[in-house]
């Protein structure tokens, strides 16, 4: 059952920002994990666990958008 509920963060603006800068982000951050908050990259780490530690320390009251950045090749090899 789907119900309408306001989420604690804006789910769309950071997604739109990510997609507007997608090619550059893949070029710059491939195989890293990034956190986006208020249309900015606020943390970068080599693993999701490491990124979670940074976010827990620096943004304990917020929920950034987390994205593990694939390489160009990984996009091209999707079937």
């Amino acid at each position: 059952m789907v119900k309408e509920v306001k989420f604690v963060e804006d789910l769309d603006q950071d997604d739109a920002w990510l997609k507007a800068h997608f090619e550059d982000i893949v070029n710059q951050y491939e195989h890293q994990v990034i956190a986006i908050l208020d249309q900015k990259i606020v943390a970068v780490a080599s693993s999701i666990a490491d990124l979670q530690r940074i976010l827990a320390a620096d943004y304990p009251q917020r929920i950034p958008l987390i994205f593990e950045v694939p390489s160009h090749q990984e996009f091209e090899c999707l079937f």
């Binding site: 509920v5 306001k6 789910l11 769309d12 997604d15 997608f22 999701i48 979670q52 593990e68 950045v69």
Partner: protein
């Protein structure tokens, strides 16, 4: 209920249907991007998203899932809250460290149970329409 539309992510002209969503458990939330995969029965996310939700990811129901190269991988299913824009629902979400790709996959369970989904590759848009009975 209004239809949701999301632009594809584009790399080197290759379009991929990524959508943002919230994963929740007992009031704790994570915000992630997931690849909408109509060929995936289960949804599979990276285990790193489970601890902040208070989940021990390997404590979930274990199922075996066959992936593209024919291997069977263990996936651990948990009942989670899922938020897509203004819509929230509950469903089974899997975690696995063996998926072999960097994307989280959101598949037929639970997304396609709740929405009619259209992939418009010409426009580069994926749309989600809540089922009318929901």
């Amino acid at each position: 209920m209004p239809v949701l539309e999301y632009d594809y992510a584009v790399v080197a002209g290759r379009r991929s249907p990524l959508i943002p969503l919230g994963l929740g458990h007992q009031g704790k939330w994570q915000r992630v991007e997931a690849y909408v995969d109509s060929g995936a029965f289960y949804s599979v996310f990276k285990p790193g998203f489970a601890p902040p939700l208070g989940l021990e990811w390997q404590a979930g129901e274990r199922v075996q899932v066959q992936v593209g190269d024919g291997r069977l991988i263990p996936v651990y299913l948990h009942e989670l809250d899922v938020q897509v824009r203004q819509y929230r629902f509950s469903g089974r979400i899997g975690f696995s460290e063996h998926l072999g790709i960097r994307f989280n996959l959101i598949g037929r369970i639970p997304l396609f149970e709740q929405f009619v989904i259209c992939f418009d590759d010409r426009r580069g848009v994926v749309s989600l329409e809540p089922h009318s009975e929901c």
